[in-house]
Amino acid sequence: MASLLGIWLGITFGTAFVTGLVSHFMQHPPGGFSWPSRPVWFYRFAQGLHVTSGLVSVPLLLAKLWTVYPRLWEWPPVRGVAHAAERISIIPLIAGSIFQLATGIANIAQWYPFRFFFTVTHYWVAWITIGALLVHIAAKITIVRANVGQGRAARAHLTDRISQPEPAGDGLSRRGFGLAVGAAAGVVTVTTAGQFVPGLGDTVLLAPRTPDVGPQGLPVNRTALAAGVVVIARDRGYQLDVVGPRPFSLSLDELYAQSLVTVRLPITCVEGWAADATWTGVRLADLLDRAGVPAHAAVRVESLERRGGYRTSVVHPPHARDPKTLVATRLGGAVLALDHGYPARLIAPNRPGVLQTKWVHRVVMV
C-alpha cells in the first residue's frame, strides 16, 4: 500500500516540479534562451497540470502519511547509522511536502497568512522537497521493487518489509482504501479543473476562479485600483511610444483607429486558471517594423504602473513577431475595461498572465 501510494505521489510531485520549472523559466528565461510562442495552449496546459497535480496530491499525501504513521513510533527509534540517516531524510520530505501543498492552496485562493513572498519561497522549497524525495526513493526503491510489479516475489528476499496478508478485519480493506484515495483525487479534480480546461467553466465548484466571472466576462488578477493607475490610465493625453531606430508615438485616437486585428487567445494565469477571450488591437510586429526594430531584437513593454515586480515585461522575438501578439485595445468588441488594462495591454500566445502587461504606454527595443 505504502509503495503504491509512494509511486503515485512520486508522479504527482514530479509533475508539479517539472511544470513549476516550466513556469519559472518562462518568467525568468536563462540567458539567451527564449520560449516558442506556440502551441498557444502549452502554458495553459502546463500550469493547469501544475495546480491539479498539487491538489490531487492532498488525498495521496494524507493516505501515505497515515499508512506509514505507525512507523514514526517504531522501537528502537534508531538502528544504526544508515537507519538514522534514512529517518532524518524523511523530515525535510514531509515538512516540504506539507508546506508546498499548503502554500500552493493558499496562493491560488489569494490568501496570504504568511510573511514570506510566495513565488520565491515555493520555488526554493520545491528544490528541497524534490531533493529529499530523490534521497527517499534511493532509500526505499528495494522495498518498492519487492512489493510492486510482476516478478516481485523473486525480489522479496531483498527486504524484510514485505506486505503481509491482509489481517481479517471489519474496517476498510486495502482495496477499499485505494478506491477511496482514487475517488478523493477524482472529486478534487472534477470540482476544480474547469478553471483551466476549455469549455468546462460551468463545472467549477471549489476552484478560486470561474473563467467567465469578471469585468467583460473575464477574471482579473490585479485591478487598476491595486496597481494605482486609475487616474493616469484615463488621461486623454495618453500616447503609446514605440522606441527603436525610428521612434514614433500614437495618440489614443490613432491607436484605437489602427486597432484592426482580432485574435482569440486565453489569459493563462500562473495561479492555474485560464480564460479564452477575443482581443482586438494592433499587431506588435507591425509596430516594431514601423519603428525599424530588427527581427532578432527583444523589446520591453512598460506599464503606467509606478512600481511592482510586473510593471514591465520583456517580449522575446518568437512572441514579439508572432502574428497573434497584439497591443490590444478591445475585448469582446468593447473598449478594454480599466481592470483589463485600458487603454492598451499586451496579449500574446503561450505566455504567463503576469507577463501580459496591462496599461501599456511604452514599447522599447532592448
Binding site: 503504491l4 492532498v58 488525498p59 494524507l62 493516505a63 497515515w66 523530515i91 514531509i94 515538512a95 516540504g96 506539507i98 508546506f99 492552496i105 489569494q110 490568501w111 497568512p113 504568511f114 514570506f116 513572498f117 520565491v120 519561497t121 526554493w124 522549497v125 528544490w127 522537497t129 524534490i130 531533493g131 524525495l133 530523490l134 534521497v135 534511493a138 532509500a139 528495494t142 521493487r145 512489493n147 510492486v148 516481485r152 523473486a154 506486505s163 503481509q164 491482509e166 471489519d170 474496517g171 476498510l172 480493506s173 482495496r175 477511496a180 484515495v181 478523493a184 472529486v187 465548484l205 471549489l206 476562479r209 470561474t210 469578471g214 477574471p219 482579473v220 488578477n221 485591478t223 491595486a226
Partner: protein
Amino acid sequence: MTGSRPTDRPQGADTSDPPDLVDRHDPARPRAVARVVTAVRAVVAAAGLAVAGYGIAGLVTHPRATHPAHTLRWLLGGLLGHDVIVAPAAAVLGVLLSRIVAHPYRAVIQAASFVSASVALASFPLWSGRVGHPANPSVDPLPYGRNLLVVLGAIWSVAAAVMLRRAVRARRSTDRPGRSPR
C-alpha cells in the same frame, strides 16, 4: 466501492507467482542486477542531497523574499501539526467510528469520511471565509460554503447507496447461512 472479497490479495503476498521465477535466471544475474541497483541508488541519493542543498542555499540567499526563519517555522509547523495533531485526531476518530458503526457499513463510512476530508482540505481557504476581495470580485467569486455542502452531499449520497446495497445483501445472506455478508 465493493469492499474486499476473498480473492483480494495484498501486494507482495501474491502466491500465484510461479515459485521457480528465480531459478529460471542465470544465478549470476541477480547479483549483477543488485550491484547495478546499489550503484544507481548511491547516485540518486547523492543527486538528491545536491538538489536539496541547492534549495536550502537558494532559500537562505534570498532572505528578503523568503524570510528563512519564518519559512522554517512554517515547515516545522506543518510537520508537527500533522504528526502531533492531525494524524492522532484522525486515528481517534477512526477508533470511535469503529465502535459506533457496525461491520458491513464501517468501511463505507471510513472511505466517505476520507474523501470528504480530502476535498474539504484542498479547498479550505475558499469555504472557511478566509478570503474575499471586495475590490476584485473575480477572485474567489463562488458561494463556496454552499458548493462544499453540494459536493459532500454527493459523496454521502453515493456512500448511502453503497450501504443500502450492503444491507440488502446482508439480509439475503442471512436467508442463506454460510455465506459472508459482503
